[in-house]
């Protein structure tokens, strides 16, 4: 019944922490702001596990030799050997160690996706701010450009970038960077539209704050949470786009190791040597899962009420 709905609604303060009644606000002060308490919102164990995994991934990317000292491009023995104690993940068609290649292959993919997301964050947030803070022509122009980009699948945009810039890790970085601009721009745009009518923005106008100053001092800090939540989830999508591009052969050139390249190279041996494709594939899956969990975690500590909606805008076809 309606009255029950109301009750539920009432237990959730309507508009964020500011609406909490005074006694509650007092308790919040007592225990709310320490860093430990912030992380406790997402669960301390989950936080520790995620941190350990991220650290591990970081080591894999930056210092792959610490884990697998061998040369990923050197042949270590017979070709197409199955997993064994000497070669845990087996060897590929050229006799290279799959484990070594999988560890070393993380670098190009993760470098491309993280750098790409950083680029799209910077450009996307700027475009979103520009679109949200202006009226009429400029805003319309920005939004129509984003609409066009949204209408095209990320992969198609990435392919167009590759077609222009050529193959290589740099072009994957650019491709990912361009492809994910609309994801950020849209989120920022709609939040700016909402925030710019906020009273504190009006107050800033009344004491003469210029538009750039208002954006820097009042808008961006209030958008930071949202941007962080979207960015941490977007890395996962970017990993998928980056591997797809390198699977198609637009990434690193052989014989350098790369998950996408190795996944594709193992394709023709699937029936005889499943391990060549499977282990890079599992690495990709695990990375994307990690990124998604990380996104959830970041969202639960920064945005405990789940007010931010992260929609997966489009998956590469």
């Amino acid at each position: 019944m309606t009255s029950i709905d109301r009750q539920d609604a009432e237990t959730v303060p309507a508009a964020g922490p500011a609406m909490v009644a005074a006694p509650a606000a007092r308790t919040r002060r007592r225990r709310g702001s320490s860093l430990g308490a912030v992380f406790a919102r997402g669960g301390l164990v989950q936080g520790a596990v995620l941190a350990a995994l991220v650290l591990f991934l970081l080591v894999v990317v930056v210092f792959p030799a610490w884990i697998t000292p061998g040369d990923p491009t050197a042949s270590v023995g017979g070709a197409l050997l199955g997993p064994s104690p000497t070669h845990l993940f087996g060897t590929d068609s050229l006799g290279r160690d799959v484990l070594t290649r999988t560890v070393w292959g993380a670098n190009p993919i993760l470098f491309a996706s993280v750098t790409g997301i950083l680029i799209s964050t910077v450009i996307g947030v700027s475009l979103g701010l520009l679109g949200g803070m202006t009226n009429g022509f400029v805003s319309g122009l920005v939004m129509r450009i984003l609409d066009v980009m949204l209408a095209l699948p990320a992969l198609l945009i990435a392919l167009m970038v590759v077609a222009i810039v050529g193959t290589g890790v740099t072009s994957i970085v650019i491709a990912v960077g361009v492809a994910y601009i609309p994801a950020f721009a849209r989120v920022v745009y709609s939040s700016v539209k909402r925030l710019r009518t906020a009273d504190y923005i009006a107050a800033a106008r009344l004491f003469g704050s210029s538009r750039p100053r208002t954006v820097a001092r009042h808008l961006l800090p209030n958008l930071a949470t949202e941007i962080a939540v979207v960015a941490s989830s977007a890395v996962g999508w970017a990993v998928l786009t980056a591997t797809t591009l390198s699977f198609l052969g637009f990434g690193v050139s052989l014989p350098a190791p790369d998950w996408g390249v190795d996944l594709s190279a193992g394709g023709q041996f699937l029936e005889t040597a499943w391990w060549i494709s499977t282990f890079p594939g599992l690495a990709i899956t695990a990375t994307i899962l990690l990124s998604n969990y990380l996104g959830d975690y970041v969202s639960s500590i920064l945005d405990p009420r789940h007010t931010i909606r992260v929609r997966q805008p489009w998956l590469p076809a």
Binding site: M1, T2, S3, I4, D5, R6, Q7, D8, A9, E10, T11, A15, G16, P17, A18, M19, V20, A21, A22, P23, A25, R26, T27, R28, R29, R31, A198, D199, Y200, A202, A203, A204, R205, L206, F207, G208, S209, S210, R213, R217, H218, P221, N222, A224
Partner: protein, 675 residues
């Protein structure tokens, strides 16, 4: 015979680390046909009491002990299934905000029909007939057609009527009304309260009226329970309570309300501090930390609720004397008398118009919403000018135009003879705005110190040391401790946040401060603190105020001159005392009549809701005089000719063909600029 019997009810809410006892051992009865009022500040357990009776507690809440007996049946012992039967059929509830309590995706008819069929074995047709009947009962025009409407198509007052209809659909024996009129305009509030009283008499229901507004309760409750920190601290028949409060808290609450007849020279009495945190209530009397009469005993021993003759009870060791002359409000500091003689004019607005284009439904002619249509006013230096009217009358828009947040469609605003136009209309060092909702007007990510620093930094005032000194001075002026600067806005209570908002508005030393509903988001006890502060700041800094408010008692306390707005137009302007005592426009008279006063006798002597109907649409205002559709005096000419604002005696002007005061023929027609 009693209908509801609450005994020693204790309700607890579990939080992550502690348990809040929101309701702590309260007992009371309600008889059939009786209205019992429950008052107190927010956070004192009023709503939780209502929810406990309904057993609609939040998931972390539970009734720890005590009993709630409705017609001899203990509700606390019922299974959830049986309780569902009781809700709606025996007890029903009306909430503050009808928008969130009605389902926006269902037609009004379906919601009522569903409620009826849940409790009665009737066919759809019969339920529909019943729905039409109850909608008629709550005064909904054309109930048959309204059935197929959705909640968003109705105004706030009409939605609240639907809520009441929904509650009454099965003729409950007890109605719990939790702040039923807080979200509504005074004129609509009067209509709804009248309706509740009438329905109570007709259906001989018991009513528990929960509110923070002592004015509402004075006219409509038979008995009053005053709640503080989860307990009932005083209970008495309405008249006795208002005439002679025994508990210091009750007395303080009564003293904090600005009354229509309060002498403006008196300061309002404020209750310092905040109610305690109920997870860890103070030992002894819970009100002791805020009580002026507290002794050592109050800090150690908990006073019990003791009954006295004449149906009264209170929990205090030092009750206020039993028989006293009329409550005198202690004046701590007499306000300086307003400067005599004509002061110079600081701000002048002439013929302001503001229209908003609405998205057109087809090609071409988009319609326009005329929020402000031809407002002219002058504000003299050092005075307080108040704009009053129902919501939607354009008073807030006028305020936004004055401060320069919006640009008028037509008309001019001059400050000290200088026209404010285009980019130059925002004058940070001269005009500032105090917002209604202090929690929305402070940047949540900025510490208070940084928020106060912003205006100075933007305007490049002084060096760092001078700025810090200025901030320290202002934070002290508004009565906040220095360590407030290091905290974030959400760590403060509503009243404290409004103080911060005031401090920020005053950082640049403006001459004119526009305050848009400065206290309407605050509790009564806190309202009076902020109002006193505004007055003392005005005196010490020589400020000029334009106060925008729907609350005529607040305006009465602050204003020197008043402008009454109706549907985008000023219908009456004049000195506050004249307008209140001798309103010339029928709308002003009706508005004044509608204000609930914390005086049971005056309240009961009033005739039924003085202003019927609701504000017409500003898209398509009535021809001629805009008020004619609700005016008791309207005649033919009112529909044809729009009355101009004409001066009448005593510096008042009014726009009416049939003013209640004699127009003054001698004075020239000078519009609203009578100073």
């Amino acid at each position: 015979m009693t209908l509801l019997e609450v005994r020693d009810l204790r309700t607890q809410l579990r939080r992550r680390r502690d348990v809040v006892t929101a309701v702590d051992g309260i007992s009371f009865d309600i008889a059939p046909g009786e209205t019992v009022g429950l008052v107190g500040e927010s956070g004192c357990g009023k709503t939780m009491t209502g929810s406990s009776i309904m057993r609609l507690l939040p998931p972390n809440g539970r009734i720890a002990s005590g009993s709630v007996r409705l017609a001899e049946r203990d509700l606390t012992g019922l299974t959830e299934r049986d309780m569902r039967q009781v809700r709606g059929r025996d007890v029903a509830m009306v909430f503050q905000d009808p928008m969130t309590s009605l389902n926006p995706t269902m037609t009004i008819g379906r919601q009522i029909i569903e409620a009826v069929r849940l409790h009665r074995d009737v066919s759809k047709q019969e339920a529909r007939a019943r729905a039409i009947e109850v909608l008629g009962l709550v005064g909904m025009p054309q109930p048959e057609q309204r059935l197929d409407g959705h909640p968003h198509q109705l105004s706030g007052g009409m939605r609240q009527r639907v809520m009441i209809a929904l509650a009454l659909a099965c003729e409950p024996k007890l109605l719990i009304a939790d702040e039923p009129t807080t979200a509504l305009d005074v004129t609509i509030q009067a209509q709804i309260l009248e309706l509740l009283r009438e329905l109570r008499d007709r259906l001989s229901m018991g009513v528990l009226l929960i509110t923070h507004d002592l004015g509402v309760i004075a006219g409509h409750a038979d008995r009053i329970l005053v709640m503080y920190a989860g307990r009932i601290v005083e209970s008495a028949p309405t008249r006795d309570l208002f005439a002679n409060p025994r508990h210091p808290y009750t007395e303080a609450l009564l003293g904090a309300i600005p009354r229509m007849h309060t002498d403006r020279k008196d300061e309002l009495r404020a209750i310092p501090g905040l109610p305690p945190d109920l997870a860890d209530p103070p030992v002894g009397c819970r009100f002791a930390p805020r009580c002026t009469f507290a002794s050592a005993r109050c800090g150690t021993e908990d006073p019990a609720l003791t009954a006295t003759p004449r149906d009264r009870a209170f929990a205090c060791f030092h009750p206020r004397p039993a028989q006293r002359p009329v409550l005198t409000i202690v004046s701590r500091e007499a306000a300086a008398e307003a400067a005599a003689g004509p002061a110079e004019i600081l701000l002048e607005a002439s013929d302001l118009h503001k229209e908003y284009a609405l998205p057109g439904s087809g090609w071409g002619r988009g319609r326009t919403l005329k929020a402000v249509s031809g407002v002219s006013l002058t504000v003299a230096a050092g005075e307080t000018f108040a704009l009053v009217g129902e919501s939607g009358c354009g008073k807030s828009t006028t305020g936004r135009l004055l401060v320069g947040l919006d640009e008028p469609t037509a008309g001019t605003i001059t400050l000290d003879g200088e026209r404010l136009v285009g980019r130059r209309r925002v004058r940070p060092r001269d005009i500032q705005l105090v917002f209604q909702d202090p929690s929305a007007s402070l940047d949540p990510r900025m510490k208070v110190g940084a928020s106060l620093m912003e205006p100075l930094a933007v305007q490049r005032v002084g060096d760092r040391r001078a700025r810090e000194a200025r901030i320290a001075e202002m934070i002290d002026q508004v009565g906040l401790p220095k360590n407030a600067l290091e905290r974030y806005p959400h760590e403060f209570s509503g009243g404290q946040r409004q103080r911060i908002g005031l401090a920020r508005a005053l950082m640049l030393g403006p001459r004119l401060v526009v305050a848009d509903e400065p206290v309407s988001a605050l509790d009564v006890s806190v309202q009076s603190q902020v109002l006193n502060l505004m007055r003392s700041l005005q005196r010490s800094m020589g400020l000029t105020y334009v106060v925008i408010s729907h609350d005529l008692s607040v305006v009465r306390y602050l204003a020197d001159r008043i402008g009454v707005m109706y549907l985008g137009k000023l219908v009456e302007v004049g000195p506050a005392s004249r307008v209140y005592e001798r309103p010339a426009h029928p709308y002003t008279a009706g508005l004044l009549e509608a204000i609930p006063e914390p005086d049971p006798d005056a309240e009961r002597a009033k005739k039924a809701a003085p202003l019927g109907g609701e504000l017409p649409s500003a898209i398509d205002p009535p021809s001629g005089c805009r008020f004619r559709t609700r005016c008791p005096l309207a005649q033919e000419i009112c529909a044809i000719e729009e009355p101009p604002l004409r001066p009448i005696a005593g510096g008042q002007s009014t726009a009416c063909h049939f003013p209640l005061q004699e127009p003054c023929a001698a004075e020239a027609v000078t519009g609203a600029s009578a100073g």
